[in-house]
Subunit: 388 residues, 2 copies
């Protein structure tokens, strides 16, 4: 194999694929990146067996071939070069890398030792805007369960139906749900659970591309599109020069729709910045390991209190538009903060029945007549109460 | 005790004193801040027994008194308030803190439980510019020994003599030395060793003040002055509204001047940015735990190489102004990088005898005729070679 490319292209590709090729001591080959030059195309490929990433790099191929070397080492080395032509050539079991002032040899392993990446046929895509998906991932990912005891909620739920992609995540103490529009009609309904690590990796790569696109002022519609394909128990995301394939979690996602309260006795509309500060103040005096703070709703006023025998107690009054009955609920401040910080609005609507039922947070825009026009309207966040 | 002050002043003071009042489980009172209101002055005081910090806060005293509460808790709470009037009142064993919308009670401990802070008479100060001292601390602090086996090099050496303050630090593998001007003549020569943690804390506080001064565009000469006093085995730094007192390390600092080579056979002048990149490239292929890279000096060219059986090898050529004999030295890349990254110049002068003797790094400005005019001229950094 012998290829020539720019430092910039190679570095960009390696930055995308290297992250999952981290320290894997049980199967060292997974720390490597497979570099494959054939049919006029150079691909960089990494996998952690759960997911695989293929990134195409613009390069001139002088001689076909494939070989693997330590991904982090190659990435660190290429990142340090200035942007100029870089020549990579396989000689025995070394990669020789030459640039104007530097010459390096990196030891590697045969491509045959590298695991196969599952192939997914590119049929019947679901497509959405990358910017919409990124926003949705930010708003649900944090709520996913970190415990492995219930595998079905250790992933993000995706439902493709009737032109809408619904994303949901829960750890059974709180739940986040977001709906975004699909770009093209695909009449086949589909629901899957994707491992949280896959979604984190997708988010990391999309954020990087999105930052770059902003810098290059290059956010044309085609660049802002992601295609999603399915085959057997695999999902494939295709965007820009990247393909990310991952296994799907088997199992049935809980029917979370049934726990979303359909009515409320109290509704409050509160400025989110003030709310967050007040919750953080109260959090300082919540009980260790319980994280409890109380929310008291009265006409025109939300009072947030907490008390801890060892430390002291705290009380904050917030003004707000509060309708319905006087009411009280005790919440885990960490779950409440997570929701408030991800609402992406200036005001939150909080709706509740009583202290024994979950409360709902939504952006104030969801009350608007013209919901369609507002991107963030289809978000909701539910927190279970700490029962007294 | 009852005092009123602005959130801003209280918060600024607490940010300064809280850092050293961190989790101390063996003596919990050290996690507290002592708030002392007497004779028209409010002081915030913390200590870790090795050093103490006193920060004066502008406040209106309605009733004298003193009391201690958890420093981090109070700091976190006050930081969350908006900038408005805050009222603090001692009621039984609680501090009551009131602002317009918030009321909080924090449990505390009697001031009598709090350790005494050593008193140092403010006689015969040594004074220097804060900006000079900050720069000097940046340039020497990183070289201090982290091992406790030789207490005398676990601190920074300060020598006040003839209008010059010399600062030095070493861990016996490398040494950094910086000289700055004192602002006023003090004819008494003085040399001391100050614990690294004290210097780190001083650096942290001075940096914060310096950032703030820049924001407020308030860097008048008086604000940029630090006074240093000695008494028995204590040192006292006084600046702005802060006093930091610390113990001095007993013992004799090594006579490091004798290891500074007085002659050289090879002198190279190299662009620092290029040098750093080349060292980092070579570092990737240095041997695990040895960190060795080779520097080969020839007329007009510095070649940096490294090799590692497991990974591969690397070679970089740098152009430079190289005088004297062809020469070669093997260095620990981490020590070399530390020096290069702290030189604060565009070019480094590297001087060496041979591969068995230490090499010296200095900023290129030290060759200038008009040394006095250049702030960074009096810096030097020595690295011991890895002998072959």
């Amino acid at each position: 194999m012998k290829i020539t490319c720019t430092q910039e292209n190679l570095s960009q590709g390696l930055n995308i694929v290297t992250h999952i090729a981290s320290k894997n001591t049980s199967l060292p080959i997974l720390n490597n990146v497979l570099i494959k030059a054939e049919k006029g195309v150079v691909n960089l490929i990494t996998t952690n067996l759960e997911m695989g990433i293929v990134c195409q790099v613009r390069a001139k191929i002088e001689k076909d071939g494939s070989y693997t070397v330590g991904s982090k080492l190659l990435n660190d080395y290429i990142n340090l070069l200035t942007n100029e032509k870089v020549e990579l050539e396989l000689k025995d079991d070394f990669f020789e890398i030459k640039s104007s002032k530097q010459e390096t040899k990196i030891k590697g392993n045969s491509a045959e030792e590298f695991p196969l990446i599952p192939q997914v046929e590119k049929n019947n895509p679901y497509a959405c805007q990358i910017s919409d998906l990124l926003m949705a991932l930010t708003q649900v990912l944090f709520a996913v369960s970190v415990s492995e005891t219930r595998p079905e909620i250790s992933g993000i739920y995706l439902n493709f139906n009737n032109g809408i992609l619904t994303l949901a995540a829960t750890d059974s103490y709180r739940l986040a749900e977001k709906k975004i529009k699909l770009m093209e009609k695909n009449s086949i309904e589909k629901e899957v659970i994707i491992p949280a690590r896959t979604i984190q990796e997708l988010f990391r790569i999309l954020s990087g591309l999105s930052d770059r696109a902003e810098i290059e002022d290059n956010g044309t519609k085609e660049n802002n599109k992601i295609n999603i394909y399915f085959e057997d128990n695999q999902i494939l995301f295709v965007f820009d020069n990247v393909e990310l394939v991952s296994r799907i979690i088997e199992g049935q996602y809980p029917n979370y729709r049934q726990i979303i309260p359909s009515e409320h006795k109290t509704r409050a509309i509160i400025n989110i910045t003030d709310f967050i500060k007040a919750v953080k103040s109260a959090a300082l005096f919540s009980r260790t390991g319980i994280y409890d703070i109380s929310l008291d709703f009265k006409k025109g006023e939300l009072k947030i209190t907490s008390a801890n025998n060892q430390l002291g107690e705290s009380k904050t009054e917030l003004e707000g538009n509060i309708e319905g009955e006087n009411n009280k609920i005790v919440l885990n401040y960490r779950y409440l903060l997570d929701g408030l910080q991800n609402l992406d609005s200036t005001e939150v609507i909080l709706e509740m029945m009583d202290g024994n039922n979950p409360c709902i947070l939504r952006p104030v825009e969801s009350l608007s007549e013209n919901k369609e026009a507002i991107a963030d309207v289809n978000y909701l966040y539910i927190v279970m109460p700490i029962k007294q």
